[in-house]
Symmetry: C2
Subunit: 384 residues, 2 copies
Amino acid sequence: MQNFTFHNPTKILFGEGQIAALDAHVPRDARVLITSGGGSITRNGVLAQVEAALGNRTHFIFSGIEPNPTYETLMQAVALAREERIDFLLAVGGGSVIDGTKFIAAALKFEGEPWDILAKQAPVTDAMPFGSVLTLPATGSEMNSGSVISHRAKGDKLPFMSDATFPVFSVLDPTTTYSLPPRQIANGVVDAFVHVMEQYMTYPINANVQDRFAEGLLTTLIEVGPRALAEPHNYEVRANLMWTATLALNGLIGAGVPADWATHMLGHEITALHGLDHAQTLAVVLPAMLTVRRTQKHGKLLQYAERVWNITEGTEEERVTAAITATRDFFERMTVPTRLRDYQIGSDSIDTLIAKLQEHGMTALGERADVTPEVSRKVYELAV
Amino acid sequence: MQNFTFHNPTKILFGEGQIAALDAHVPRDARVLITSGGGSITRNGVLAQVEAALGNRTHFIFSGIEPNPTYETLMQAVALAREERIDFLLAVGGGSVIDGTKFIAAALKFEGEPWDILAKQAPVTDAMPFGSVLTLPATGSEMNSGSVISHRAKGDKLPFMSDATFPVFSVLDPTTTYSLPPRQIANGVVDAFVHVMEQYMTYPINANVQDRFAEGLLTTLIEVGPRALAEPHNYEVRANLMWTATLALNGLIGAGVPADWATHMLGHEITALHGLDHAQTLAVVLPAMLTVRRTQKHGKLLQYAERVWNITEGTEEERVTAAITATRDFFERMTVPTRLRDYQIGSDSIDTLIAKLQEHGMTALGERADVTPEVSRKVYELAV
């Protein structure tokens, strides 16, 4: 096990009806800015529940935070928050809304040009306190301090994280997910699955607990993922999906172990170039990535085969192949296609994808920094 | 899954050499009171490392916090802290030292008679900030807000918990455990194992993740427990044991599920009457408790048999029996005897034990509150 620091102060309020707990967790005299995406929280009644819980607290609503939230949009929220002397932010939505709200919170306390938080990785030492009401299980943003923000004009998409940008609390009410389109549920399951894999599928390092926890999350996603599609109003299924997606990226299973994240980096370029959903790119890249790097990941692939997929028959190579196939089949069963050609993308895109990776400095990826552009090319080729 | 609140703000600094990180985590201008138990931290060099890390910060040492820490001793520390205008506490030791330090921290900010925190469960809304350097993996006190304090004069032993009594940070350096006597390691493994069982071995409630995490902790203890005895200087083994014991009682696996704790309550009376180590009482009570309540716990016992012990052959009743036997054998393999007669206690003690349970109001224990004194009597009888 590697040395690590683990710290996660976010309070989780989990379960049906917990939106009402906002009354106990938002400061009584706060001036609140509710941040949101499109109109879904109006249509499904979540916004009405939130406003009811806030009672007579002064509050404003900033809607329109887009998927891949942009600096341009978020700075409008910063201006509104300053104008209305806001002192508490409440993100109501999925990962994009929460990521965007982290940036708003940091920008409000930042001296200088807030884009420097991303472009220059200027340290964020203070942020406005904020909570979240999660409506889409997927990214884990509701219980971590990370955020990814895009700059429309510059064409950049950059991450930041800070101890100051953990949500103070997050409400996880599984019933808020009932009205999600199947595509968003499917994407969320794949996203959470690959979050776990990026922290688990590296090399053995005697981190027994972290391995068991990661395997537990993967197994749970395999159990509940297809049922979440088939039974959209099954509370227990949605509850397990929601809590699993949160635990997939809250720092716990990644503490003390190496991490990969090459699948994410290769996927980001596909989204940037072709507009695929983030989870679609992960479903495309991961099976190819595991195949190309099966030698380097041999030990963990065998463990994964046995513990997650109960694959114990055949030679070691056969078991590894079967585990990768099972992974691909799971994504397909989740209705997320796993080949570039399924999205009308051919091998003629690969030169551009590799050039973009190089432009972004992504030339030594993975847990051993051995995913060179040459290796990435093989992955893209196999993903076609 | 039940509704739940999960909140754990303690920062964990894990790994060899992390005591040096105290310098970054104890406020620069703090006046520090180091709290400790006997002299082991002097003999094994931990105190010297702590003092080196504190550098030129003003600090004092209060030693002598006993196993089952007492109000009488702790109030001496409170007096010293007041006299020396202490503003940060640093517990260096095992669960008793950390539990005791939680009480000191709460008492220092409490208006009125501090014993009321325990006797009247007076709310603790503020406490002096404190950190810990853990030297004994067992109780989980390093990452939770609970504490159990005894009053020597009154003969009481009572718990309290408060959001204000989470450690700000805890240093977990596995090498600090190398010099522990085998009996303390063995006890720690049993203690952590039963902590998990109390939160897991109840009835099925569709909490897939919590079950998988609990099973992962149990499996890890079964893997590393005997090796921790056989290979006292094996870093990886001690690291996995230490992190597992912390996660066994930090609120995570207990969030959203019912809990039992009847084994603990019956065990407490044995300690009070006969002076057995806490873990010894758990090793005695748990196999008997599972046997007596095997019908009520049937579903989870079957799941435990299969997932933790790989018992899949035989009838359901045979598998349940085999799982209980495997549990007992594991404790015995950890060199902790599992029958009262192994500690020279006979059935003539049972009337007194039951009377004490009744005196303490422990008449409706367990996840369904159906462990009446009559059921407890059967457990004690079977435990002889």
